[in-house]
């Protein structure tokens, strides 16, 4: 029998995004509200001065949340429904499963991303080249978070633990770090701590592209190199160490 890989990818998208949104639409509200709530607070407190950074922060949070959601969703399907066991004992392709699950997270976040992109167009007015740069930075953010999420998912055996990690990492990497505000607001020496988070580099790139943060060309190149390198290293680590089945 000839097996369709595109069907396998689509199956993950249907299960983890389309049917969940269709059958439980309340989840959509939560997905949209999370990044927008921070945006509203930042805009209100800064009296509109940080609206650009807040929109960029919302986009970064959405992308990071996608990766963390992947962790929770894969763990949930694996541990609570034993879906992964059913798929291991079948011709399902692990790569198609994971690619589909990753794509489903983006599709799940499309409503939030759509609103944020419209707001970006209205308040930040990026040109075509800037839009490509912003898109590339967000893609690297997504790759990084999805690999972190997948790594945690393969190691997790308890859904409560998975959701706890998901919330903790999202808070640390998107709410505390300078994602919704410029890094210059953090006093030294604490500013160095912010560079432990991959979201800081993406935020610097996006804020610099949007013109709300003045960075030297060298600093921007360094940010691109670090986030690109980190995504590549994590991809290699995950592809080598992720467990599809037990040893």
């Amino acid at each position: 029998m000839r097996r369709s890989h595109s069907s396998q990818v689509l199956a993950s998208i249907l299960v983890n995004a389309v049917y969940e949104m269709k059958n439980y639409p309340i989840n959509l509200v939560n997905t949209v509200l999370s990044p927008l709530s921070f945006l509203v607070v930042i805009d209100f407190v800064s009296k509109g001065a940080l609206i650009g950074q807040a929109i960029e922060g919302g986009l970064i949070m959405s992308m990071f949340q996608s990766g963390m959601s992947l962790q929770g969703d894969i763990s949930h399907l694996k541990n609570d429904f034993k879906l992964q066991d059913m798929l291991v004992s079948s011709p399902a392709s692990p790569a198609a499963y994971v690619i589909g699950m990753a794509a489903s997270e983006i599709i799940y976040n499309l409503p939030a991303l759509g609103i944020l992109i419209v707001l970006m167009g209205v308040y930040v007015h990026p040109g075509a080249f800037q839009a490509i740069e912003l898109g590339a930075a967000l893609f690297l953010m997504f790759l990084t978070s999805i690999t972190i999420g997948f790594m945690f998912a393969t190691l997790s055996s308890d859904i409560v633990q998975s959701f706890a990690w998901s919330r903790l990492l999202t808070t640390i990497f998107t709410a505390i770090t300078p994602v919704y505000y410029p890094i210059t607001y953090i006093p030294f020496p604490f500013r160095y701590l912010a560079y432990l988070s991959p979201t800081t580099y993406v935020a610097e790139i996006m804020q610099s592209v949007a013109g709300s943060l003045n960075l030297s060309e060298g600093a921007v190149i360094t940010d691109w190199a670090i986030i690109g390198g980190l995504a590549a290293v994590l991809l290699v680590v995950v592809s080598r160490n992720a467990r599809w089945k037990e040893a």
């Binding site: 000839r2 689509l10 199956a11 249907l14 879906l83 059913m86 798929l87 004992s89 399902a92 089945k245």
Partner: protein, 314 residues
């Protein structure tokens, strides 16, 4: 003939905990093979190894000549499993669950949809096809899981304790599904309901403490045990003299005498003359199981011997 063969199959967890020990047997890979054993006997470990989910520590196994370790990808083309704790995904419907399972197996959407609808209709689940899984009864959820594997092209199906937790009526409904599945596929079923094994199994395998205790058809295993008859007396009855056999007392005080046919009738005759209340019957699978596994767990491991019925051997 297509065969399931294991050779000295062992599995150790964490370097010390031995879940399976030198399990060797062969059985026809057709109809229903029921694997019975107590909790922790190694049933799930054996199923997971045969279904390519888990690597054995040592030994080998093959189904229809396909090695479960070296040719796992080839075998996965032909197998499907419903694990012991599998549940239907709560936010989906039986139709969506079956459709996506088939798509994960590589079916195109239109073909998967057609097969899903046929499978649900075959198991009389079409009226629940579009109901959210979380709103279904426990029995219907289990049937929905069976519909997923039934819809697939797999001809070797593993079902790990599929009826655990079901009420007696739902369990009997599920047996019909298993018989339906077994018409054109090999079903490897684990259960600790002995009645279920007796009703369904073409081949029976008994695991005790990670070791294979017996394998064969139900009549052949029945013929292998020491005592074929059971004489039962109510609690508090005087115990008659037993020349050959074992006398046990149940938790409720009921007395059971396991013995051979001649002795059982001799005891019955004496009890009838004395006007005692009693019953006599051939041993049930329950009695057989306790005789076999009881011996095995006490260290007196019975090595199964080859039989002439159905081609099983150990």
């Amino acid at each position: 003939m297509d065969q399931l063969v294991t050779e000295k199959l062992s599995k150790t967890y964490g370097g010390s905990s031995m879940a399976l020990q030198d399990v060797s047997f062969s059985a026809p890979s057709s109809g229903i093979l029921a694997l019975i054993g107590r909790n922790g006997a190694g049933k799930t470990t054996l199923v997971r190894i045969l279904a390519t989910e888990l690597a054995p520590t040592s030994g080998s196994a093959s189904i229809n000549g396909i090695d479960v370790v070296r040719e796992d990808k080839r075998l996965r083309e032909r197998i499907a499993i419903v694990p012991q704790e599998a549940r239907t995904i709560s936010w989906m419907t039986p139709k969506q669950s079956t459709l996506t399972y088939l798509m994960w197996r590589g079916f195109e959407y239109s073909e998967a949809k057609k097969r899903a609808e046929e499978s649900l209709a075959r198991l009389k689940l079409d009226k629940y096809a579009d109901t959210l899984n979380r709103k279904l009864s426990g029995g219907t959820k289990r049937k929905a899981l069976a519909a997923m594997v039934l819809a697939s092209e797999a001809d070797i199906i593993f079902l790990d304790e599929p009826t655990t937790g079901l009420d007696p009526i739902s369990r009997r409904d599920f047996w019909e599904i298993l018989r339906e599945l077994a018409k054109d596929r090999f079903i490897f079923l684990t259960t600790h309901y002995l009645e279920e094994a007796e009703q369904l199994a073409d081949t029976l395998a008994v695991l005790g403490g990670g070791r294979l205790v017996a394998v064969g058809t139900v009549p052949s295993i029945r013929g292998r045990i020491r005592y074929q008859y059971s004489v039962n007396l109510p609690a508090g009855s005087p115990v008659p003299e037993v020349a050959q056999g074992e006398v046990t007392t149940g938790k409720n005080g009921e007395i059971q005498i396991l013995t051979n046919e001649d002795e059982a009738f001799a005891i019955s005759k004496r009890l009838s003359v004395a006007g005692s209340r009693f019953s006599i019957r051939p041993v049930s699978l329950d009695d057989i199981f306790f005789q076999l596994v009881g011996e095995s767990t006490q260290g007196e491991h019975e090595v199964p011997t080859p039989g002439a019925d159905g081609g099983w051997s150990a």
